[in-house]
Symmetry: C2
Subunit: 94 residues, 2 copies
């Protein structure tokens, strides 16, 4: 009746990150931080978790002299998100 919800996605911030990355090719750390209203520390950790799970790819580079962290969702991430939403529907539909 109620399927398990992927615990990695069932978190407000991580879900927001994934939701955001679904709509764009890639996004920078600071952009995600702003859009999700998160602190840098929290975002850093949650990005690591999503990255460790293979749900997104994180690349580090420099823009001029400044370090930039860029994130993009992976195939596995899209799949996991879709599965999560499908499972969730059973909970929130009347």
């Amino acid at each position: 009746m109620f399927k398990d919800l992927d615990p990695l996605l069932h978190s407000q911030l991580r879900l927001a990150i994934m939701s955001l990355l679904l709509t764009v090719d890639s996004a920078e750390f600071t952009y995600i931080k702003e859009k999700t209203n998160s602190t840098a520390g929290n975002l850093s950790i949650q990005l690591d978790k999503l990255s460790d799970a293979g749900y997104l790819k994180v690349t580090k580079s420099f823009k001029g002299k400044k370090p930039v962290t860029t994130c993009s969702i992976t195939k596995a991430g899209i799949k996991a998100f879709e599965d999560y939403v499908n499972a969730l529907k059973a909970y929130i539909q009347p």
Copy 2:
């Protein structure tokens, strides 16, 4: 962009409990336990939290000689659930 999700509802078990109680007048502890596939201990605690928040009403009685715990959702619980679902939609819609 991403509204906060009621942390009380953003929990797999508590959400399942609320979802279940929305569809029925009331339900007994053992029924909820079975339908949500939860352990008694976990269920007991999560029911307390929802009850403390005023999202549901828990009444204790006896069926014959056996104790029965009966739960039903409150107006406040229905409202909270609806708000949660509306907020959640922003996260899961493409």
